[in-house]
Symmetry: C2
Subunit: 271 residues, 2 copies
């Protein structure tokens, strides 16, 4: 419980990679006690999604936690989290509507509910999330503010492979060929960021520049590419101030998401 030492918390679905390790290390530096939860939350998966085959390398995950000095590795069961009669749902209709919410209708309601529950169980002072799931981090910040959960939220930069692909537990689903193609998403976002840094202010022009990069790769389908306000996630017709470039693509059976934060040229001049 909250009395005494400062508690840091990294909620995960396991299959821990370098991105999680960075979150754990950032938490370790900030807190006297560190809790990592490993829970593949069924309510944030859609009926046609990969719940059953989601990787669960629990021994490796525990070893990583041990090595990184995690104090508590919290592994609740589905039955403990959602016992008979469970029914309460936490929803954020506006922020959860677009982007990932469109592709995955009940996803953020599942995320918001499980995060509220885990915060209630762990009672952390601080919780850390990866920037890779950008919309999720916006949802969690809003949730914590709206429900007065009293948890400080820290969002850590996306950790990438040498070729730029954002670390994800789902990258193991990629075939060797698709793994090579997968870097296209990050290249597309970098192209958008470069356009903004070069002074392009028309949101649609930035989006179009990003789309052109992906369209060169016929094996990839665009789910969405967007130039958005990083707090509301509404698309920006005119790029100004801090901007987030969001992307989701499909490569064969696998869906990848990524994002970059950029500060537009005019705004940077002010500093």
């Amino acid at each position: 419980m909250r009395e005494g030492v400062r508690i840091g918390f990294v909620p995960t679905m396991g299959a821990l990679h370098e991105g999680h390790r960075a979150l754990i290390r950032a938490a370790r530096l900030r807190c006297a006690a560190l809790v990592v939860s490993i829970f593949v939350n069924p309510t944030q998966f859609g009926p046609r999604e990969d719940l059953a085959k989601y990787p669960r390398p629990i021994r490796q995950d525990r070893a990583l936690c041990r090595k990184e000095g995690v104090d508590v590795c919290f592994e609740p069961t589905v039955e403990a989290m959602y016992p008979n009669g469970f029914q309460t749902m936490v929803t954020l209709p506006t922020i959860a509507r677009r982007w990932e919410g469109e592709a995955r209708p009940h996803h953020f309601s599942g995320v918001a509910t499980v995060v509220t529950k885990l915060f209630g169980m762990v009672r952390p002072h601080l919780a850390l999330f990866g920037q890779k799931d950008f919309q999720q981090s916006v949802v969690v910040r809003r949730l914590v503010q709206d429900l007065n959960l009293g948890v400080e939220i820290v969002v850590c930069p996306t950790v990438r492979e040498a070729d730029g692909l954002a670390m994800s537990s789902r990258n193991i689903y990629l075939s060797p060929d698709d793994r090579v193609r997968a870097t296209t998403l990050y290249k597309s976002l970098q192209t958008g960021a470069e356009a903004i840094r070069n002074g392009v202010v028309d949101g649609e022009a930035v989006r179009s520049a990003m789309a052109q990069v992906v369209k060169k790769e016929p094996a990839i389908t665009i789910d969405y590419l967007a130039v958005c306000d990083p707090t509301t996630l509404e698309p920006l017709p005119t790029v100004t101030g801090k901007v987030v470039l969001l992307g989701a693509v499909r490569i064969g059976p696998t869906r990848l998401i990524d994002n970059i934060l950029v500060v537009a040229k005019q705004a940077r001049r002010k500093f």
Copy 2:
């Protein structure tokens, strides 16, 4: 915050009456620190309900709190509770569907959300609710369990006027004639309880006995009368064990609710 002393919490919408005073006294006995919130929560009122005219005798309420030794009288503003951009809602689709939820579609979502927020702000060990709003107490218990809010919920018996009418801030809406008629609801519930104590086991027979009492009073319309399981609030075809009798009626422009808990005869024999 939760460190140190045990904190008791009585959330109210103000217009405090003897029912609230009983909750405050019950809390005072159990806790070292006592918080009463006074907040007329707009999100639990429907568009055609009495939000604007709901009584707000704030000076009298503060005086009552002072007299009863309340440590903190918490009076948040609507703007502080629901600032621009607020959007998170807490819903309990199953329990909130029936009875009051049918008459007031977004009521329990408003209640669940504001209770979650108030618990986050006050961080009580213990929170007290009146049995008069029986469905609300079931919703709050379920909410606390489902979201792991870690607050002990105590439900205190309904406080009644000398003639049996359940205390309510809305009783002041009743005309003198309607005030006399209003006791019919409690009489109806007592008739149901008496039938159960006399061994009637058919739920519909009990319900019908209650309805007959109300139908003798042509100025009163039945909204619902029901014989239910006190945990799920599902209607019971056969009365067994602990039962709640729920009632809601309309007298002119005013809507009244009340309930009685009964233990059925067969179940009592077991003790």
